[in-house]
């Protein structure tokens, strides 16, 4: 009687599952599988392990139970097995299959997790024959539909690892940075850890310890990433506390043998600040006094002096002091009494019919070059505007250029959305990130005034893009991140009407925790 009742319950559950829509059916199936694994098989597995461990079984029975325990291991801890065994061995197919087993690690992104495992294994041992196989698993379609699955954190990290496996580090870097920009709720913890580890490793490989220190301190970083962040801070001469903390971080992290030389290097690093990065230079080089102009005596000829400065600034990434000093040198050159007259006389001597145009042409070229240099240096426009003369005109050129570029990018995005020209979800996200990065760069140069103008130019375009992604393309995670970005910017510029509407959009596209 009891068995019949159980059979009835199971049959009713299967009937209910079969009648569900494909997406919900899969979700319910996963949940049921996880329940059986965690509530039934898990405890049984532990009991079996204890049974074998106690040694009460005969050798034959013990080996049978042991074989059963090993056979069920991939069902119980699929991600641990994938992460510790299959990925290091570089087996994309096996990694994908095992990681496809429903697992608590990928609850937030069940299709992205296996793709991440496969791409990671490909990254470890690049097998050209498997590239197409892995690529086909990066954009799975929804069950019973031709629409791609919503792209979430693990899926995006899989795309990034795939790019790294093909040697496209720049794309990988941008996509991993995109993972960190997504809502935390849409990024499984395992995917976040992989993302931070990769960014830290990439930065350490390039010697970019500022980035290592920044990424390694993010929440969700692995112990190794945190150790590398501590190394980075030590190498940068930042206060890191006593040496035993570094030893402790090393002991907690790993792999110990491979990171020991790095630990020694960090312990031997001087404590005094030694980082010569741009940001530091920008804060220290405030005054623009002639004493800091490389200790050189300017040539007597002001025109020559301006040219020498211009040439010097065009050879390497200029600092703000170079920008201001070069602009000031040009101001002196253009204001030199008699300079304009000498050019006009020379034009007559050469027989130049448009000689009068040479002077303004020269000024435009100088301003154009100074604007380019300011952009390259990432210098703030405010000191240039305050300096007046060539510096201020160069700042105006750069400001117009930055706004024009953002407007152009926004117009192109709107045209694409209006025409319904869809890109792959990951490329939609990359386009948004590129636009957001251009906006960030422009704002860092142009300041708050440019921020307000730029936001008003881009707001509707990005809003439309997010709406389209959410309502037409079935990509709420990407839309959510875009709405959140827009809301943060609306708050920054004080656009109260937009803040209220965007708050509703952010809430509406939030990932359903179930």
């Amino acid at each position: 009687m009891r068995a019949a009742l159980w059979l009835l319950v199971v049959a009713a559950a299967i009937f209910w599952l079969v009648r569900l829509p494909p997406v919900r059916r899969r979700r319910a199936g996963r949940a049921a599988f996880l329940f059986v694994m965690e509530a039934v098989l898990g405890p049984l597995w532990v009991i079996g392990g204890v049974w074998v461990g106690v040694g009460q079984l005969s050798a034959r029975n013990a080996s049978t139970v042991l074989a059963l325990l090993l056979a069920f291991l991939p069902l119980l801890v699929p991600w641990a097995l994938t992460r510790r065994l299959l990925v290091p061995l570089g087996l994309p197919r096996a990694a994908w299959w095992v990681a496809s087993t429903p697992d608590g690690n990928w609850k937030r992104d069940p299709t992205g997790g296996p793709a991440l495992a496969a791409a990671w294994a490909l990254c470890v041992r690049g097998n050209p024959e498997l590239i197409a196989w892995v690529e086909a698993r990066l954009c799975p379609l929804q069950p019973g539909s031709t629409r791609p699955e919503p792209l979430r954190g693990a899926g995006m990290a899989a795309h990034a690892l795939f790019a790294a496996a093909r040697g496209d580090d720049e794309t990988a870097r941008a996509l991993f940075a995109g993972v960190l920009a997504l809502d935390r709720g849409a990024v499984p913890a395992a995917a976040r850890k992989v993302t931070i580890d990769w960014l830290v490793a990439d930065a350490a490989e390039r010697g970019a310890w500022v980035e290592v220190a920044a990424h390694g301190r993010l929440r969700g970083a692995s112990a190794t990433a945190r150790f590398l962040a501590a190394v980075g801070e030590r190498l940068l001469g930042r206060p890191t506390g006593p040496a035993w903390r570094l030893w402790a971080a090393w002991a907690w992290g790993g792999p110990h043998f491979a990171t020991l030389p790095l630990l020694r290097q960090a312990l031997g690093a001087p404590a005094a600040p030694q980082e010569g990065d741009k940001g530091d230079r920008a804060t220290t080089e405030q005054d623009g006094s002639p004493a800091s102009e490389h200790g050189e005596t300017p040539p007597p000829d002001v025109w020559q002096a301006a040219l020498v400065r211009h040439a010097r600034a065009s050879r390497a990434e200029p600092s703000r002091i170079d920008l201001l000093a070069t602009a000031a040198a040009w101001d002196r050159a253009f204001a030199e009494p008699g300079a304009r007259r000498r050019v006009d006389e020379r034009a007559i001597a050469l027989g130049a019919t448009r000689g009068a145009a040479a002077w303004p042409a020269m000024q435009r070229q100088v301003e154009r070059d100074r604007a380019d240099a300011a952009r390259l240096a990432g210098a703030s426009l405010r000191p240039l505007q305050d300096a007046g003369g060539v510096a201020a005109r160069a700042a105006a050129v750069l400001r117009d250029e930055l706004l024009g570029e953002l407007e152009l990018a926004g117009t192109a995005l709107r045209a694409r959305v209006d025409q319904g020209r869809a890109l792959a979800p990951v490329d939609e996200w990359r386009e948004h990130r590129a636009l957001a990065e251009a906006y960030r760069r422009a704002v860092s140069i142009g300041g708050e005034e440019l921020r307000r103008l730029a936001f008003s130019k881009l707001k509707n375009e990005i809003w439309g893009h997010a709406y389209w992604l959410s309502n037409t393309r079935g990509q709420p995670t990407l839309a959510h991140a875009m709405y959140a970005w827009l809301r943060a910017e609306a708050e920054a510029v004080g656009d109260t009407r937009a803040i209220d509407s965007l708050a509703k959009n952010v809430e509406a596209t939030k990932l359903d925790p179930s």
């Binding site: 290091p88 990254c123 470890v124 041992r125 690892l161 790294a164 496996a165 093909r166 040697g167 496209d168 580890d197 990769w198 490793a201 990439d202 490989e205 390039r206 010697g207 310890w209 500022v210 190794t224 590398l228 980075g232 190498l235 940068l236 001469g237 792999p255 990171t259 290097q265 690093a269 030694q274 980082e275 010569g276 990065d277 025109w303 020559q304 040219l307 020498v308 211009h310 040439a311 010097r312 600034a313 065009s314 050879r315 390497a316 990434e317 050019v343 020379r346 034009a347 050469l350 130049a352 019919t353 000689g355 040479a358 020269m362 070229q365 070059d369 380019d372 240099a373 952009r375 390259l376």
Partner: protein, 125 residues
């Protein structure tokens, strides 16, 4: 990218390409241009490079012909004269060499980082 426009302004200046002062006459320009073309034709190493305020540059037939053409046009020559004020070789040494490498802590790279953290070796495209 952006700063290279300013750099190219110096590298492509016809007076620097021909190795002449901005006071050179039209005849001197023609003579020097023909001489350089002849030397390049013979493959003489001394003719293959020239100095500029932003460092040495490679010279070829096309650059010499372009420089001669630019200086034949009085309007263009006037603008090139304004940009040619800086004496070649004035500060070439700082310019030469790769100045893009990070300084300080940035110079300490850890080439095994990706492999050690389990991502395999870096691949070139």
């Amino acid at each position: 990218m952006s700063e290279s426009a300013a750099r190219r302004r110096f590298l492509d200046n016809p007076f620097h390409v021909l190795g002449l002062p901005k006071t050179a006459t039209r005849a001197e320009v023609e003579r020097e241009g023909q001489k350089l073309l002849g030397m390049l034709g013979l493959g003489l190493a001394s003719a293959r490079s020239y100095s500029t305020p932003v460092g040495p540059a490679e010279r070829d037939d096309a650059a010499v012909r372009q420089a001669m053409a630019e200086l034949r046009d009085p309007d263009k020559r006037l603008l090139h004269e304004l940009w040619a004020g800086s004496a070649p070789d004035a500060e070439t040494d700082v310019a030469s060499g790769d100045d893009t490498s990070p300084r300080g802590a940035g110079a300490r790279r850890w080439p095994e980082a990706r492999r050690v953290l389990g991502f395999g070796a870096r691949r070139s495209r």
